[in-house]
C-alpha cells in the first residue's frame, strides 16, 4: 500500500472479568491507506468499539502494535501522545451519553479548541464554533442550547462538529449514523465523504448497518468474537463473500425493494461468550459447515489479491 497512515499488528485487548478473560479483540492485523475508509462490521459485542478505542489509546491494548504515521503510539510519551491525539479523533456511538449535559452546544464544540489553545479570543472561538455548526447542519439558534433539548440527530451532529474542531487526519467513526434517521443519515454520510475528499481524511468506520458500510467504505473487515474473519475491498466482499458468517450476514440484510431475490441463510443461535473462548473456529457453534477440521483456529489468509478469509473450508463451500 502506497501511503499507509495506520497499521495495526496483532492488536489484542483482553478484559479481566469475574468469570475469566474476555477476549474483546484477539490479535487483529490491518493497514489503512491515507484518504481511505476501512469499514468494521460485525454483531454487537464482537469488538468493534474496543478496536477503535484501543487504536486511539483510550484503552490500553493487552498486546500488539499501533503504528500511526510511522510511529508506534504505544511507545509515545504523554506529551507526544497528546500531540498525536489532535490528529486522531473519535465520533462516538452514543450521542446521548457522550455529551456533558451541563454544557451548551457551543461549550461542547469549543472545548477541544480551548483545551489545545487552537484559538484564543472568544470572538475567534465563537466564529469557529458557528462555522463548525453550519458544516454539520446545526442551526445557529442552537448555539446556547443544551443537549437534552435536542433530538438524537442533532446531538450526534454536535459530536461530529467537536471531532472536526481539531482538523484531524484520522477519525474513528463509531456508529456515527446509527441513531439518525435515514434522511439525516444520508446528509451526514455525504458530509463525512465531502470532508474526507477535502482534507484527505482517513476513516475507520464502525457500523452494524451493512448497506451503509458498503456505500461508505473502500475496504471492509468483518469481525466475529474479537477476530477478523474476512477482509476485502467493499465491492468484492459484497459480490463474493467467502466466509460462512459473512455469507449469512449479507443474506440477512432486508432490502428496500420489492421482489429482491432473497436466498436467506438463517444461522442458528447467537454470538457466543467471548470469555475464555475455546481454541476452535470462533464461528464453530453456529456454522452450517462446521466439521472436525474446524476444531483448530483458522488463520486469516489471503485467498485472492487483497481478499483475506479465516476459514478452513474456504474454496470448498
Amino acid at each position: 500500500m502506497a501511503d499507509t497512515i495506520l497499521e495495526v499488528k496483532n492488536l489484542t485487548k483482553y478484559f479481566k472479568t469475574k468469570h475469566g478473560m474476555l477476549h474483546a479483540v484477539d490479535g487483529i492485523n490491518f493497514k489503512l491507506a491515507r484518504g481511505k475508509t476501512l469499514g468494521l462490521v460485525g454483531e454487537s459485542g464482537c469488538g468493534k468499539s474496543t478496536t477503535g478505542r484501543t487504536i486511539l489509546r483510550l484503552i490500553e491494548p493487552t498486546a500488539g502494535e499501533i503504528i500511526f504515521e510511522g510511529k508506534d503510539i504505544n511507545k509515545l510519551s504523554r506529551s507526544e501522545l497528546r500531540h498525536a491525539r489532535k490528529d486522531m479523533q473519535l465520533i462516538f456511538q452514543d450521542p446521548y451519553s457522550s455529551l456533558d449535559p451541563r454544557k451548551t452546544v457551543s461549550q461542547i464544540i469549543s472545548e477541544p479548541i480551548i483545551a489545545n489553545k487552537i484559538l484564543k479570543t472568544s470572538a475567534d472561538i465563537d466564529a469557529r464554533v458557528a462555522e463548525l455548526m453550519s458544516t454539520v447542519g446545526l442551526a445557529a439558534r442552537l448555539f446556547n442550547a443544551y443537549p437534552h433539548e435536542l433530538d438524537g440527530g442533532r446531538r450526534q451532529r454536535i459530536g461530529i462538529a467537536r471531532a472536526l474542531a481539531m482538523e484531524p487526519k484520522f477519525i474513528v467513526c463509531d456508529e456515527p449514523v446509527s441513531a439518525l434517521d435515514v434522511s439525516i443519515q444520508a446528509q451526514i454520510l455525504n458530509l463525512l465523504k465531502e470532508l474526507q475528499a477535502e482534507f484527505n481524511l482517513s476513516y475507520i468506520f464502525i457500523t452494524h448497518d451493512l448497506s451503509v458500510v458498503n456505500h461508505f467504505s473502500d475496504e471492509i473487515a468483518v469481525m466475529y468474537l474479537g477476530k477478523i474473519v474476512e477482509k476485502a475491498p467493499a465491492e468484492q466482499l459484497f459480490d463474493n463473500p467467502l466466509h460462512p458468517y459473512t455469507k449469512a450476514l449479507l443474506s440477512a440484510i432486508p432490502i428496500p425493494e420489492l421482489g429482491a431475490k432473497k436466498e436467506r441463510i438463517l444461522i442458528q443461535g447467537e454470538i457466543t461468550s467471548p470469555i475464555n473462548p475455546p481454541d476452535e473456529c470462533r464461528f464453530y457453534k453456529r456454522c452450517n459447515y462446521a466439521c472436525d477440521r474446524c476444531k483448530a483456529l483458522p488463520e486469516l489468509k489471503e485467498i485472492a489479491p487483497d481478499h483475506f478469509v479465516a476459514c478452513h473450508l474456504v474454496g470448498e463451500i
Binding site: E43, S44, G137, A139, D151, G152, G153, R154, D181, V182, S183, I184, Q185, A186, Q187, L189, N190, H208, L210, S211, V212, N214, H215, F216, A234, E235, F238, A248, L249, S251, A252, I253, P254, I255, P256, E257, L258, A260, K262, R264, L266, I267, E270, I271
Partner: protein, 338 residues
Amino acid sequence: MSEKAIEKQKDLILDVKNLNVRFETDDGIVRAVNGLDLEIERGHAIGLVGETGAGKTTTALALLRLVPDPPGVVECEKLELDGRDVLGMGIKELEKVRGKDISMIFQDPMTALNPVFTVGDQIAESIFLHEDVSYVEAQKRAVAMLELVGIPGERAGEYPHQFSGGMKQRVVIAIALACHPQLLIADEPTTALDVTIQAQVLDLMKNLRQQYQTSLIMITHDLGIVAEICDEVAVMYAGNIVEKGTLEDVFNRTKHPYTEGLFNSLPNIRDRKAMLTPIKGLMPDPTSLPEGCPFSPRCPYAGEDCTAPQVVRNISATHFVRCCAYDRPGFHIERKER
C-alpha cells in the same frame, strides 16, 4: 359505487378517524398526531414508517388508549377495534381488550420484561389475566408459547437476565401473542437486534402471523423490513399519514415527495457508487409546525398552493397521497415508476 358502499364491504379490524394527540408541555404544545385516519383490513400487515418524532409510537399508544395524561391530550372522532368502540370503553373493559384483542410490543424490548419474575411466569401471567384458565393451565400454555418462539420449554424457569437480546425479544413476542390477539402492534421490534438475529425474529413473526391470521401494525423506519413482511405501507410525517398504499403502490409507484426523499436517502446495496440524495433540512419542530403542508420547507416541489391545509388525493382504490401538487396539471415526481 359510492365511497360509502365500498367502505361497507371492507372487513376492518381497525378503523380510526381524525385522531389528534398533543402534549401540553412547559415548552409549548407538541402536536404529535394531527388528524390521522387509518383503516386496517383483517389479516393485513401494515408498515407504519417515518422518521424520529413523526408520531408513530404516539399513534400506537393512542390506539391502546395509553397516551400519558398529562401531558397528553387525545381527541378522536372514531376508534373502532373489530367494530367495537374503544373510545367509550371503561377501564375494566379496556384492560381486557389490551393483551387479548390488541397487543403491543414496545419500542424498548429490553425494559419490557420484569427482572424479578421468570420468563415463564411473565407469559403465564398474561394468559391468566385474559383468559378463563387456571394458573397451572396458563403455565402449561406459557411453556408451549416459549417453544413456539424457538426457546426450549425447560428454560421457562429462568430470569430475563439469563437470556440474550434476541431471546428476550422472542419472549416479548411470546407474551404479545400468548392470547392470540387480533391485532398486534410491533414498535420497532428488531431495532435493537443484530441482523442475523433480526432475520430469525422476522421469520418467526411472519410464521406466527400466518398461523394465527393476526393483523399487524409494524412500526419501523426500515423500508427493507416493510418490504419483507408487510402488505401495505403508511408513511408518516409530522403526525399524519402522507402516503398510503399497497407495497407496490408505495415502492414502485411512489407519489409523495417525502416518500421519494426517503428512498433517495437510502444507500443502494447494489450500486455502491450511487450518490445519496438526502432530503434537505430537518424535521419541523412539532411545537410550531409550518402552515399548510408540514413538508413544504424541505420539499423540492413546494409551491404557493402548499400553504393550504393538505387533504387526501386518491390515486387509486388502494393508494392515496396527501399532496396538493397532484392538482397541478401533469405533475409528477422525479422518481420513476418501476
